[in-house]
């Protein structure tokens, strides 16, 4: 069940209505059943996979808490290995098998292990990470094991964040299932506003951008130059509006019922450096990797080469987490390289800025930094979006081919067919204008928000500002939304 589906439009109000009308003691059961129903609308049998993971980590949590010394570590390792093994079987086995087959073929070895015919359970990477954070927190003594099996199951399965996060920590979420949430008008309205904003981002902006991006990335060899650049920049915004739209809907849905989920995005494309970008992009995942991989590896409290190595490993694993494909591995390594270069060259860059006196123009300097960071990020997205490494390399090698001619023709802009070929990417011109219109609307919205969080959209504004914007959002969804139910990009992970 997608958040942007009719099923969810029926499912969610029903759950909310029941949630506030039944006694508090039955609410977690309602949420658990609802979450099971929500999950089973994808592939029903896969709830068994989730059940196995929940059982393993629930008991692992209890045993870790009760044990002392090496036994704690053994139970933690059992939990981590079994959880990661499940993830490996469903997500990575075929990838590694195909690569082993390729190596064996190269050396003329006899290798005949067949691929598994399995569909990746939706959101598996998200809920395995959420489960792992639970057992690790218990092992670290930062959280006590949850004894109520139902509540623990709900922690893993809570439907607003089940399939694509935000990846929550037990400290933030589990206690909320015990708290009594009354119906608070302002909170519910804030939650609904965030859902509507998320839906707008998804079906008006991200899904429309997808029309342009898919046209090029599904068949990149048909394009070159400006078209490839335009599609890549469009993808940068598509993935942001898609995932932040999903996150808004998840956070808003939880908020309506009184739950507080962590923010996942903080205007990442205004970042002035790669490290800043990773503090603003998919915050819950970045924090997970920081706390459970980067810091245990030693973080930055080690010698410099080791520090860089830790950064590289963290980004490599992050890339692999996103998908079992060399494109994601390269994307991770590339971002690791960016990050290391960013910290390693900080002093040199500062001196260069002083030398060319860019620091005398702080606003201009800021926008240069934002532009460079955005370009580097877009370059990385090429690997993220391309179907395979070959496509990605083709795109990179042809990003600027024929661009001089295209740019000179573009001077005639509105009257020139080049505009249509380079920017419209095979889409009707009205789709392009709808895109411009929706981007402009979001810009106006953020102007009123003054760059604030989506969490308290338009709070404190007068009714003359709020209601026209509400109507603009709703009519935008109704009249400019792409009516094909497109999956959220991060659902595949």
């Amino acid at each position: 069940m997608l958040f942007n589906s009719i099923e969810f439009l029926i499912f969610f109000p029903t759950v909310v209505f029941l949630y506030f009308f039944i006694p508090h003691k039955f609410r977690w059961q309602l949420l658990l059943v609802s979450s099971c129903v929500f999950y089973m609308t994808f592939i029903p049998a896969y709830i068994l996979v989730l059940a196995v993971l929940i059982i393993i980590d629930y008991f692992a949590g209890l045993f870790i808490e009760r044990s002392i010394g090496k036994k704690r570590m053994i139970f933690l390792l059992i939990s981590i290995i079994s959880t990661c093994f499940t993830l490996f079987v469903f997500k990575y086995f075929n990838f590694f098998n195909a690569n082993l087959f390729g190596i064996a073929h190269f050396f003329h070895w006899n290798y005949s292990l067949k691929n598994l015919d399995l569909v990746l359970p939706i959101g598996l990477s998200f809920h395995t990470f959420q489960s792992l954070s639970y057992v690790i927190e218990i092992y670290n003594g930062k959280y006590k094991a949850e004894h109520n099996f139902g509540i623990y199951s709900l922690y893993v399965m809570f439907f607003p964040q089940l399939v694509a996060g935000p990846i929550e920590r037990p400290q933030n979420l589990i206690h909320q299932f015990y708290e009594k949430h009354t119906f608070e008008y302002q909170r519910v309205v804030d939650g609904l506003k965030q859902i509507v904003l998320g839906l707008f981002k998804k079906i008006v902006i991200a899904d429309r951008l997808a029309l342009f991006v898919n046209q090029v990335y599904n068949s990149p060899t048909d394009y070159h130059g400006l078209s490839l650049i335009a599609a890549t920049v469009f993808f940068a915004f598509q993935i942001y509006y898609d995932f932040s739209g999903y996150s808004d809907m998840a956070i808003g849905a939880a908020k309506v019922m009184g739950f507080n989920l962590m923010d996942n995005f903080n205007h990442p494309y205004i970042s002035r450096s790669i490290p800043e970008f990773w503090q603003r992009w998919h915050i819950s995942l970045s924090a997970w990797f920081r706390d459970y991989l980067y810091i245990p590896l030693g973080g930055n409290r080690v010698k410099i080469p080791r520090w860089y190595f830790n950064l590289f490993i963290t980004f490599l694993v992050s890339g692999l987490w996103h998908g079992a494909n060399w494109t994601f591995v390269i994307w991770g390594v590339l971002n690791g390289f960016y990050y290391v270069c960013s910290v390693a060259t900080a002093d040199v860059r500062k001196k260069i800025v002083e030398f060319i006196r860019l620091d005398k123009f702080p606003i201009f300097h800021k926008y240069v930094q934002i532009f460079i960071t955005f370009c580097l990020t877009c370059f990385g997205w090429i690997f993220f979006r391309a179907k395979n490494v070959g496509d990605a390399l083709y795109i990179i090698l042809h990003l600027f081919s024929g661009i001089a001619g295209e740019l000179s023709n573009s001077l005639k802009f509105l009257y020139n067919i080049q505009l249509q070929e380079s920017f419209l990417l095979g889409q009707p011109v009205y789709e392009f204008f709808a895109l411009i219109l929706s981007f402009s609307f979001v810009a106006i919205l953020y102007f009123f928000q003054k760059g604030g969080s989506d969490r308290n959209l338009l709070s404190g504004k007068s009714v003359w500002v709020r209601w026209p914007i509400y109507y603009a959002l709703i009519f935008g969804i109704v009249f400019l939304g792409v009516s094909t139910e497109m999956k959220f990009i991060y659902f595949q992970f």
Partner: protein, 305 residues
């Protein structure tokens, strides 16, 4: 909670009114599906020849040139599944039907409408014809809303014309769709073949053969002559087809025609057609359609006698 409901109602009221106005007016817009269904509802008992099929038949067969009273019920991207469903739905009311023409294009035997890029058109079969989709899918907003079905932006354009739009204006009273001259910037034959091969799925092969057999059995049970055909294509289309796929298609049709003793006319690379007869590499234009319809009529008459 009452306060919230009140505000939601106030907020939703204008939206509901405007959307209702759109939905009502869009539902009245004439389109090819509506036109063909209404025609069959009224005239099925008088028809003698019925043409099924996809856009190749839609633009290529003009029953006005038939010596018997004919109607073309083909539509863009229509699959063998919907051919069967339409024939099955009207089998009893087609009291005077003598011949049913079942076109089989290069892609037809492996075509799955539901997973193709044209799958949105399926909702017209649900909404207009009342036919269920081949692949049961989740609830789709297009099954409930014309605005979603036509596309919201296009709906806005229709509203600017006060919904005075006829989407079936290019369709003749015999159900044939008129394509004049040449397409301005056509895809090459290679690109068209590539597209058609992209909508072919191995898993649909058996099911499509079943639908074809069911149609033949149904027609035969009513004493109707069945004619299988493949419409003409331009050489640059033919030259790019995968010979293995083409041979599989031909061998499969041969087996079926032998099994059921029905006739198959293959005009795929008929030398009677010149480049001037084609709108693009796989669709006939007005002149081509006239030429083809006359040839087909002559061949059918030979068979029917």
């Amino acid at each position: 909670m009452v306060k919230l409901f009140k505000k939601l109602i106030i907020l939703a009221f204008p939206v509901i009114i405007i959307v209702s106005i759109f939905e009502y007016n869009l539902s009245k817009i004439q389109n090819s599906y509506m036109f063909k269904k209404n025609f069959l509802d009224k005239n099925a008992p008088t028809l003698q020849v019925l043409t099924l099929g996809s856009s190749h038949a839609l633009v290529g067969i003009n029953p006005i040139f038939f010596s018997m009273n004919g109607f073309n019920v083909a539509d863009t991207s229509q699959s063998l599944y919907y051919d069967y469903q339409i024939l099955n739905k009207y089998a009893d009311s087609l009291e005077n039907l003598k011949v049913v023409i079942i076109p089989v294009s290069y892609f037809s035997l492996k075509y799955n409408f539901s997973s193709s890029v044209e799958s949105w058109r399926e909702n017209f079969y649900k909404k207009v014809w009342g036919l269920d989709s081949e692949n049961k899918s989740s609830i789709n907003v297009r099954n409930f809303s014309y605005m979603a079905l036509y596309g919201q932006i296009r709906s806005l354009f229709y509203a600017l014309k006060f919904f005075d739009v006829n989407l079936a204006s290019n369709i003749s009273k015999t159900g044939w769709y008129r394509l004049d001259g040449k397409e301005t910037a056509p895809d090459s034959g290679k690109e068209r073949v590539k597209y058609h091969e992209s909508i072919m799925e191995e898993s649909s092969f058996t099911e499509n053969i079943n639908y074809l057999k069911k149609m033949i059995e149904l027609a035969k049970s009513k004493g109707v002559t069945v004619v299988l055909i493949t419409t003409p294509v331009a050489p640059d289309y033919f030259d790019n087809v995968n010979s293995k796929e083409y041979n599989l298609m031909q061998n499969t049709i041969k087996k079926i025609t032998e099994e059921y003793n029905v006739k198959y006319f293959n005009y795929f690379l008929d030398k009677n057609f010149t480049p001037d007869d084609f709108f693009n590499s796989d669709h006939l234009n007005v002149e081509g359609a006239e030429k083809f319809s006359k040839i087909l009529n002559a061949d059918i008459n030979k068979e029917y006698k």
